[in-house]
Amino acid sequence: MSDAVISASGRTPVRMEVNGVAETVYVEPRWLLSDVLRHQLGLTGTHVGCEQGVCGVCTVLLDGVLVRSCLLFAVQVDGHRVTTIEGVTPDEGLSPIQASFQRHHGLQCGFCTPAMVLTAEALLRTHPNPSEADIRDAFSGNICRCTGYQFIVDAIRGCSEEER
């Protein structure tokens, strides 16, 4: 990749693979990835709760790794792969993780839920049988104001390899 230079007011094309689809978006350097996903690409399943990286509701996968989309500028993901909640949802019905959240009542208002599902995806890829402590550690950066977390923990355990 060669040096890239973009002036402050200029817009530049950003090419990224979003949920398996090649997208080109014209952005100002200061546009946050969360805003671009939501308002340029219409992927409103990614939510915004604090824009300082604390609440976790904007969490997405960047090249398969959990990141806060409110702490990334869209220009930074040029050439990278982004996965949002829309990208882990099957064409019909729910994924096993989503179904487990429903079965265990791991959501109420649903605002933090897409980020919770993505965090579960990432955790279960590396820890197929997480302990309760593993789950509570992995989710410590995802704030939920409704559930008290217990049914979320149950939902993750409910879709571990052992439970399946």
Binding site: M1, S2, D3, A4, V5, I6, S7, A8, S9, T12, E28, P29, R30, L32, E51, Q52, G53, G56, T59, V65, L66, V67, R68, C70, L71, L72, F73, V75, Q76, T119, A122, D137, A138, S140, G141, N142
Partner: protein
């Protein structure tokens, strides 16, 4: 007060340290963007308003962990979670791996970088103190070449380092030591929050030792001890004597009290590590 959208800025993405340094030299009011996990929140609040960001994430040379005969070299772009999980770091510097795991939360650790944390130099963060405790050396590049700064001299005050204008941190050299055992403990209101107070304690083979505190003053506080007492009461007296002399940030009584408590807890980790 909130203004949760950043100001406009020009964006540079150099692909080498040399061109990053050139940007830094030519662009007024430029800042280096590494993981961005502290810088971007500050920009979203408009507390930081750089005119130009130099995104170094494309410089692959800064992303390596290299194990040498006498040291481990960590590139500035190594992520906290990599430090936490890396087998070589876990083997040689378990205390560093442990401390890195206490930074923020998983998504933050995935993105936050060693270099970013060290240059940001928040007095409550783990990695600057870890580097001081481990007697690491910072490799810093400028247009005139590179220089090396011992960690203890790198952190000079409240969010301030010995970096000169136009310089950037490229790597950290952590010396291998077969004789010292380290322990780490910190106190934060919630796990993942910035530590209120933390401590690294080292016991060397010759019964000497050291404590490095963070979160007590404006920078990591390293205190060598010619003898690290094995007797609990003597050790407690030693911690208290050292803590009493710290120039604490605020709430002196509480911070000094916790400095003592955490030094002792870090020491207990040393004992556990030796048994383990």
């Amino acid at each position: 007060m909130g203004r949760l959208k950043p100001n406009s800025f020009a964006y540079y993405r150099p692909n080498s340290v040399a061109s990053a340094l050139q940007c830094l030299a030519t662009q007024p009011d430029a800042k280096i963007l590494a993981g961005g996990q502290s810088l971007v929140p500050a920009m979203n609040f408009r507390l930081s308003r750089p005119a130009c960001l130099i995104d170094i994430n494309g410089i692959e040379a800064l992303a390596h962990v290299e194990v040498c005969a006498d040291k481990v070299v960590l590139g500035a772009l190594v992520h906290h979670q990599q430090i936490h999980e890396h087998p070589s770091i876990r083997q040689h510097f378990p205390v560093l791996a442990e401390a890195a795991g206490e930074i923020g939360h998983l998504a933050i650790r995935n993105r936050g970088t060693l270099g970013g944390s060290l240059v940001h130099a928040d007095p409550a963060s783990e990695l600057p103190a870890a580097m001081v405790a481990l007697r690491a050396v910072m490799e810093v590049a400028g247009v005139d070449g590179t220089r090396r700064i011992p960690a203890a001299e790198f952190f000079v005050g409240w969010m301030t380092t010995a970096l000169d204008t136009g310089e950037m941190l490229v790597s950290v050299h952590v010396p291998l030591s077969s004789s010292s055992v380290y322990g780490f403990a910190e106190f934060a209101r919630r796990p993942g929050d910035f530590a209120y107070v933390g401590a690294f304690v080292e016991r060397a083979a010759n019964e000497s030792g050291a404590v490095t505190w963070f979160g007590v003053s404006d920078k990591p506080e390293y205190r060598p001890m010619s003898a690290l007492p094995r007797d609990a009461a003597a050790r407690q007296a030693e911690w208290q004597q050292l803590a009493a002399k710290l120039e604490v940030l605020d709430e002196p009584r509480m911070r000094r009290k916790l400095a003592v408590v955490l030094a002792e807890r870090a020491y207990q980790k040393v004992e556990e590590a030796k048994i383990g």
